[in-house]
């Protein structure tokens, strides 16, 4: 466990694959630097400084799997606190993350709209390239407005499954704050598609051959069809800017000067684990991310995207890498998970996986795929293989994410799930109910890991909210507090009076008024021991300037 003061002084830099600079925003922390700068807490990280266009990065999915599986993080290494948070412990807006539902109310219409900005493709579409094999065959099209979209279909046997998951997933992750491409469910007929004379298809062996009409017809015929006979697909708008390849969850981009925080120490990437667990996004690996160079060449910057949410919720792939209802292993066990493998080995197979016995509702709600909420445990959830950022998620990272998850009301969840455009209202209802129950589990788990005080406001007194108590997760018998004067240059603390106890979420201010005040608050709870952990709140001239949490 990390001492809270360690956080205050800044964590120990960790290994960075790309050899990047390592100082956290909180503790840029040259020895003589103050703890708080005059502009703290920053709400925006200006990581959009003009840079030359970085090079294209191609990432081998196989190499990534092998590297992360067989050379995972050393469990003995001390994990530093997230390095890109502001002094309130929040993630500033940046090229990675834009605070949305976490900081403001979003209407149901806005949630359902997701990243869309009126960019639905205008038919007919001209097919400019295609992919005949792989887990998601599809093609690239240009609409009449000249916009480029990537089109993928549902497989014949699983109507609406992956297209719904893709759009719903994008809308959730957009509301959370990530950059995602615009996506639209479209219904296509053969007559809606023409072939560009130069169009090629990538076939097995990475060969490119001229595209024939037969390819499109086969693609449409082998896809799931809407009752009106059209083939349903998801069309994802090409992201703005020039594509630079995927980002990695470890190190920094060595050719991007703006990228100074090792990705495994970025809170929005650590906390991504909580969101992925909630929404069962087991395919949340590097290959499903994208960097793009946006702006005028020579003075643009890199923006970081999450892409491809077709393996989210109840949608996934089967053992032959075909789109199918989610594999029961997914979310419960890595592709190569040494502990259960070893157990099954030495017990002659008697030690079996518990997840094999999960009673999924599939195929009762076929469009929703294979997802459930009874067995779901946010702490045990696993992606396809270890993720360096996920593995470094600390309780305060998870708390940050869980606060955002908690902001999704039942109506918000239902509004987003409805964008899947399901044929079966029962499937839609089942999926929304499942997501809501998974939300409650995730929030309850992470709100119980530390003292869940938040929403601090300074007036005649210091008021706050206990997010855990508000959700009925534990009983509270009072709050202990202790005021200190704080020396911003040296970090020294001096007590201001005796420790006090209040019964409600209102702490009286001290009589003295030094430049910096700090109050340490602990929650007395007969049910939740972890709520005794300290929350240190810093005030400067009567204004909230810092929050630190014992984890």
């Amino acid at each position: 466990m990390h001492d809270i003061n360690q956080c205050a002084r800044g964590p120990t830099p960790a290994r960075s694959k790309a050899g990047a600079l390592r100082a956290p925003l909180l503790a840029l922390a040259l020895v003589a630097a103050p703890k708080f700068y005059p502009d703290d807490p920053i709400l925006v990280d200006r990581d959009d400084l003009p840079i030359d266009k970085p090079g294209m990065v191609e990432l081998s999915a196989t190499y990534d799997l092998l590297e992360k599986t067989f050379a995972p993080m050393d469990p003995g290494v001390e994990i530093p606190r997230a390095m890109n948070v502001n002094t309130l412990g929040e993630v500033p807006d940046s090229s990675w993350f834009q605070n949305r539902i976490g900081v403001r109310d979003m209407s149901l219409e806005e949630l359902a709209r997701g990243p869309s900005e009126g960019g639905r493709p205008e038919l007919p579409l001209t097919v400019i390239s295609g992919k005949a094999s792989g887990i998601t065959p599809g093609f690239t099209v240009r609409d009449t407005a000249g916009k480029i979209y990537f089109v993928k279909f549902d497989p014949l046997l699983h109507p609406n499954l992956s297209t719904a998951a893709d759009v719903i997933g994008k809308n959730f992750f957009h509301a959370i704050g990530y950059n995602v491409p615009e996506s639209y469910i479209v219904y296509l007929r053969s007559g809606d598609l023409t072939i560009d004379p130069g169009a090629q298809v990538i076939v097995k062996g990475a060969k490119r051959v001229p595209m024939k009409r037969e390819f499109l017809e086969t693609m449409l015929e082998s896809s799931a069809h809407h009752p009106d006979g059209s083939a349903r697909a998801v069309a994802s708008l090409a992201v703005e800017g020039e594509v630079l390849g995927p980002l990695q969850f470890e190190g920094t981009r060595s050719d991007d000067p703006n990228d100074i925080v090792p990705h495994e120490h970025r809170r929005e990437l650590r906390g991504y684990r909580v969101f992925c667990a909630w929404l069962n996004h087991d395919d949340s690996r590097a290959i499903n991310t994208l960097d793009a160079y946006v702006g005028v060449p020579g003075s643009g910057h890199v923006r970081h995207y999450l892409i491809d949410f077709s393996s989210t919720l109840g949608s996934g792939s089967d053992n032959l890498r075909r789109i199918a209802p989610q594999n029961p292993r997914a979310g419960n066990e890595y592709i190569v998970d040494f502990e259960p493998i070893w157990k099954a080995f030495y017990t002659f197979g008697i030690s079996d996986r518990v997840w094999r016995r999960i009673p999924y509702a599939y195929p009762q709600y076929a469009e929703a795929g294979r997802i459930e909420s009874e067995y779901f445990d946010p702490a045990r959830w696993k992606p396809e293989y270890p993720n360096p950022a996920f593995d470094r998620m600390l309780r305060d990272d998870a708390f940050w994410a869980a606060k955002i998850v908690a902001r999704f009301t039942d109506d918000a969840v239902r509004a987003i799930v409805s964008t899947g455009d399901f044929l079966s209202k029962d499937a839609e209802r089942y999926l929304a109910d499942t997501v809501i129950r998974r939300r409650d589990k995730a929030v309850a788990h992470y709100f119980r890991q530390l003292n869940p005080l938040d929403g601090f406001k300074v007036g005649d007194s210091l008021t706050f909210r206990n997010l855990g108590a508000e959700r009925g997760l534990g009983a509270v018998s009072g709050y202990e507090y202790e005021w200190f004067s704080f020396d911003n240059e040296t970090g020294a603390l001096a007590p201001l009076g005796a420790r006090g106890v209040v019964l409600d979420t209102r702490v009286p201010l001290p009589d003295s008024n030094p430049p910096y005040l700090m109050v340490r608050i602990r929650t007395n709870s007969p049910t939740e021991d972890s709520w005794r952990k300290a929350v240190d709140v810093y005030l400067r001239a009567g204004t909230l300037v810092g929050i630190e949490r014992e984890i």
């Binding site: 925003l25 097995k204 032959l320 493998i341 099954a344």
Partner: protein, 431 residues
């Protein structure tokens, strides 16, 4: 004088230090934004492109080929392979060729192998062949007819029709005698050259039911075995004890097979069953003294024991040859037991006879989908035509397999019997 100099140096050093500290202090950022900007400016001085390492580059190349698989590594349709062309051949290095739509709708395949013990195998196939995607069709080069039945995978086209020309040079085939009395001490070797030309067709009625018909010519030639460790067959056995040894016949061969396959994944089954029925007619082209018929079945079942990671695999197969009146079945055409697919604790070709029975049980468990372990026991016997089966020979052992979802890629096994201990490394499933 010396003291003055020392004081001067100390003073200068102090002044420099103070100046340095003062300069550093001046350079401290005043705002968080400034501090971050400086960090970025600092990194700007050292930017460099991302350079993947060699392994990553190679894996990326394979990834881009879509659905990477060891079965897809090829150069213009040529695939390097390690194979076992015949039981007892030892591992053979070679290449296969496979090209869909080689000539119009016709597919083409070919193979060439040379083994540790000098075994050679060459074949060419052309026609509408059963295949899935671009996977190589059935492994006709295996030389294990009984096993080969179970290897026909349901797939397109529904009407396979293809011609095969095959030549095999088998310089050290083992022969111990016929029937249950065959003694370990009588081990001999002989050379066999076999050339076959045949046409194969069939009908795939459903995904689970295939009917196959085959007809063609088979030339046979025998000679002294090349092994320096064992005598040649003709030095120990005469034509009575080893029918066909003196004048090996050539054959016109007709064969039909019915194949019911309800396994979930034929190359890596976890549940279901398969049944192959075979009927064959071998017509001696010289004296008709060696014409015979063959009938047999091969049944395999796969029972999950409460979980797909625990499988009980069962197999029973019977094969019987019937020669025409006063005729005989050549010893080298008779089916045998022993080796990696039948009695694994015995040498290849250990037991031969006109009648063969084999029973196998395996308990397989999968710590993970691509890694399987197994304990097994095999029992079987060989009998002469008209004789009843006598006591079963049996063995036991354990093994480990590495698999894809569809196939066993590598199989390691150790098998024990009252005669010997056998070790296997193979690229195929046991059954």
């Amino acid at each position: 004088m010396r003291g003055t100099a020392s004081r001067t140096i100390v003073a200068l050093l102090l002044t420099a230090a103070v100046a340095a500290v003062a300069q550093e202090s001046e350079e401290l950022p005043n705002t968080r934004e400034e501090a971050l900007r400086r960090q970025r400016e600092e990194k700007r001085k050292t930017v460099r492109p991302y350079v993947p390492n060699r392994i990553e580059e190679e894996l990326l190349r394979i990834d881009k080929a879509e659905n990477p698989s060891v079965f897809d590594l090829n150069w213009k349709g040529f695939y390097p392979r390690v194979a076992w062309p015949s039981r007892g051949s030892g591992a053979a290095l070679g290449a296969r060729y496979w090209q869909r739509d080689f000539w119009g709708p016709l597919d083409a395949a070919g193979a060439a192998f040379y083994s540790l013990y000098g075994y050679q195998h060459y074949d060419i196939q052309l026609g509408l062949m059963p295949h899935k995607g671009s996977r190589i069709p059935q492994r006709s080069w295996r030389g294990d007819e009984l096993y080969e039945i179970g290897d026909v995978k349901p797939g397109f086209p529904r009407f396979p029709l293809f011609a095969t020309f095959r030549y095999r040079y088998l310089p050290q085939e083992d022969f111990y005698g016929l029937g249950p009395e065959a003694s370990l001490e009588d081990r001999t070797t002989y050379l066999q050259e076999e050339t076959r030309a045949y046409l194969r067709t069939g009908l795939q009625f459903t995904k689970n039911f295939v009917w196959i018909v085959e007809g063609g010519y088979q030339w046979n030639s025998l000679g002294p075995g090349t092994s320096s460790s064992y005598p040649t067959t003709d030095a120990v056995f005469d034509d009575d004890a080893a029918p066909g040894l003196a004048s090996p016949p050539d054959y016109v061969r007709f064969s039909t097979q019915l194949f019911f396959d309800f396994r979930d994944e034929p190359g890596n089954p976890h549940k279901g069953w398969m049944l192959a029925l075979i009927g064959e007619r071998f017509l001696d082209r010289s004296e008709d003294a060696f014409s015979f018929d063959r009938i047999g079945f091969d049944a395999r079942g796969f029972l999950p024991l409460g979980s797909p990671q625990r499988i009980l695999a069962l197999r029973a197969a019977l094969l019987g040859d019937h020669a025409e009146e006063e005729g005989r079945v050549p010893f080298f055409m008779q089916e045998s037991l022993g080796g990696s697919h039948t009695l694994r604790g015995f040498d290849s070709f250990r037991f031969r006879g006109e009648r063969i029975e084999i029973y196998q049980i395996e308990y397989r468990w999968e710590p993970t989908t691509f890694w399987e372990l197994a304990v097994f026991t095999d029992a079987g016997s060989a009998a002469r035509e008209g004789s009843a089966f006598e006591g079963l020979e049996w063995d036991y052992g354990f093994g480990m397999r590495f698999k894809t979802y569809r196939d066993v890629v590598l199989r390691f096994e150790i098998a024990f019997s009252n005669e010997t201990t056998r070790y296997y490394i193979r690229g195929s499933t046991s059954f």
